[in-house]
């Protein structure tokens, strides 16, 4: 060691042997970040903090929960009524799931809008989609644990999706259930998986961060960082911005937890599971509704399942569907238009997923489903051929200049290369 890096000699001693402080200093303190990030870039750190909150509250809830069909419902009610602060922990966990999806969906649409999935961030994006898939599995199994009517029937319907697989479908469903219906073995394995999957998510999140720090954050303009003048150190600039974002987010979250804790839930889940009676109108949690709408839009069992999973699979190959070299929508007028149509389409799918599958809603669901795939499979690949993108600025720190002069600068830049 030529020169001690840290003032504290103990820190120095440890760091020489285990360079954890150098690592943290490099990745969380000095880490150069584009200086023009807007508030939509808060949602990455918010998602991370929400994940940690979910894990912490989940661990303490598991200390009071009993995974058995005869006791699960009552043990949750015991948490609500008798365990010290149990109601608070459970409502945080329950609403936290919804807020986790709100945050992650905004995070994903931000990525879509600013082209964050494009080279060289393809693997970063793919890891993100993987996190979404794991989150969905975890959320689904978590919803089963209180063993209310919606838990039970949600589990029944979703596991039955696998029966659509030809030949082995029925065997797979029996294997998933550990019996001939959703029952105690199912509840036990779902509890086990619901406990362990979040830690798998943490693992993928770490990879997500490693991939992120390889090239750094994308930014609203979507052009690469050209040098030091374009960046600021992560700390204190983005730590304080993330802290502010976190405080606003937590305020909204607290409003839900303390004043509308059951707003995003379903009343039927306060009725203990009854394998003999299906509730009149079963809907999944709101964050699954767009996918549920796609499932129901296809008039074929296997087809519905394939399209539903296809809706996520298509995100995996997104970096190769959209070949435009311009990242940010700010410079892609047509893409921007289609982006907003996609947003409306997804909201429409969510709305339709909650409607009964009859009459006009079926037709609308089909149109919305068709458009969803049309957007990714047809519009995105074709768009670069017909779209004339607006000229890009030279760098993040260069003030936006008029279009004509800008165009010439860009030309000049290109010639230099």
């Amino acid at each position: 060691m030529s020169k001690p890096k840290f003032k504290n000699p103990v820190v120095n001693w440890i760091d020489y042997r285990l360079p954890i402080f150098t690592f943290m200093n490099h990745e969380l303190n000095e880490y150069p970040t584009p200086k023009n990030l807007n508030y939509f870039w808060n949602f990455g750190s918010l998602a991370g903090i929400t994940l940690v909150t979910m894990i912490i509250t989940g661990i303490v809830l598991s200390m009071n929960y009993t995974a058995h069909v005869d006791y699960a419902f009552d043990s949750v009610e015991r948490i609500m009524r008798d365990v010290n602060h149990g109601w608070l922990l459970r409502y945080i966990h329950m609403n936290g799931a919804s807020f986790f999806f709100i945050v992650v969906y905004i995070h994903i649409f931000r990525g879509l809008y600013y082209g964050s999935y494009k080279a060289p961030r393809e693997i970063l994006w793919i890891l993100g989609v993987l996190i979404l898939l794991l989150m969905m599995a975890t959320a689904f199994m978590g919803y089963v644990l209180p063993w209310g009517q919606m838990s039970f029937w949600g589990a029944t319907v979703i596991t039955n999706l696998f029966s659509a697989i030809p030949l082995v479908g029925e065997s797979i469903v029996t294997w998933l259930w550990g019996g001939f219906s959703v029952d105690n073995p199912t509840l036990n394995r779902f509890f086990s998986l619901h406990f362990v999957l979040p830690f798998v998510i943490v693992g993928v999140v770490i990879l997500h961060l490693v991939a992120l720090h390889r090239f750094g954050s994308n930014n609203p303009i979507g052009i690469d960082v050209k040098g030091k003048q374009d960046t600021v150190p992560f700390h204190p600039y983005y730590t304080i911005k993330d802290l502010f974002g976190l405080s606003v987010f937590t305020t909204i979250f607290a409003a839900a937890v303390f004043f509308f804790p059951n707003f995003m839930g379903h009343p039927d889940n306060y009725i203990p599971a009854d394998p003999m009676v299906t509730p009149a109108h079963i809907v999944p949690e709101w964050y699954f509704l767009p996918f549920y709408a796609i499932l129901r839009a296809i008039p074929d069992k296997l087809g519905g399942v394939l399209f539903m999973f296809g809706a996520i699979m298509v995100l995996f190959v997104l970096p190769w569907l959209d070949k435009s070299s311009v990242r940010s929508s700010q410079f892609r007028p047509l893409y921007k238009l289609f982006f907003w149509i996609l947003v409306i389409d997804c909201i429409a799918l969510g709305y339709l997923g909650a409607k009964p599958a009859e009459g006009i809603y079926v037709i609308l669901s089909r149109i919305a489903t068709a458009y969803y795939f049309f957007h990714f499979l047809i519009i995105l690949p074709l768009l670069p051929r017909i779209e004339s993108t607006r000229p890009l600025p030279v760098s993040i720190s260069t003030p936006i200049i008029t279009a004509s002069s800008n165009a010439s600068t860009v030309m000049a830049m290109r010639e230099k290369k």
Binding site: I56, T57, V60, M63, N64, R78, R81, D82, V83, N84, H85, G86, L88, L89, I240, L243, S247
Partner: protein, 178 residues
């Protein structure tokens, strides 16, 4: 950047940022409390913290064991000899000096938490065939602690006498523990 600021600006800046971080720390710390407190006994556990026992059928020289807060409680209807042996014991040389009167409400009945004060095993001596130790009361087989007719430690590693739970006589033969 900071060099251009006057010291006053610097102070104002420090105050604002330090109070932000301090408040953040307070918020995070108060979130930790529910996480810890949930491990304390819940309301239903606390509500079950008393047990009533009818001693009507307990004859002289017999013992019963009842469960209270998940632990065994020894209740013994002592014989005259046991009572006088417990009363006559001098306090000199006792490890945890207590008179028998301090340990019973009614001389006939001794009520003890049946958990050895050494490391928490349940001592023998409730059943007639049990080893009762050198002082005729209770004997802990784990590490060899001997207790007398008043549940006082007389020999072995246990530091204190067997605990007397909080209890009261609701009638001559009905007691409420806890």
């Amino acid at each position: 950047m900071t060099k251009k600021n006057t010291p006053e600006d610097q102070n104002k800046r420090d105050f604002l940022q330090v109070s932000t971080y301090a408040l953040g720390a307070v918020g995070a710390a108060s979130f930790v409390w529910p996480l810890i407190d949930q491990m304390n006994p819940a309301a239903d556990t606390l509500a079950l913290a008393s047990t009533e026992v009818d001693l009507e059928a307990l004859e002289e020289g017999q013992s019963i064991t009842v469960k209270w807060r998940g632990k065994p409680v020894f209740i013994r209807h002592r014989t005259k000899e046991e009572i006088s042996s417990a009363k006559d014991q001098l306090l000199d040389g006792l490890r945890d000096p207590q008179t028998d009167d301090e340990r019973v409400q009614n001389d006939k009945y001794i009520v003890l938490v049946g958990v050895c004060t050494h490391l928490g095993c349940v001592p023998l001596g409730q059943k007639s065939g049990d080893v009762k130790g050198e002082y005729g009361g209770w004997f802990c087989p784990c590490h060899g602690s001997h207790y007398d007719h008043s549940g006082r430690i007389r020999k072995g590693p246990a530091p204190t006498n067997l605990e007397v739970p909080k209890y009261s006589f609701l009638s001559d033969t009905l007691i409420k523990i806890g």
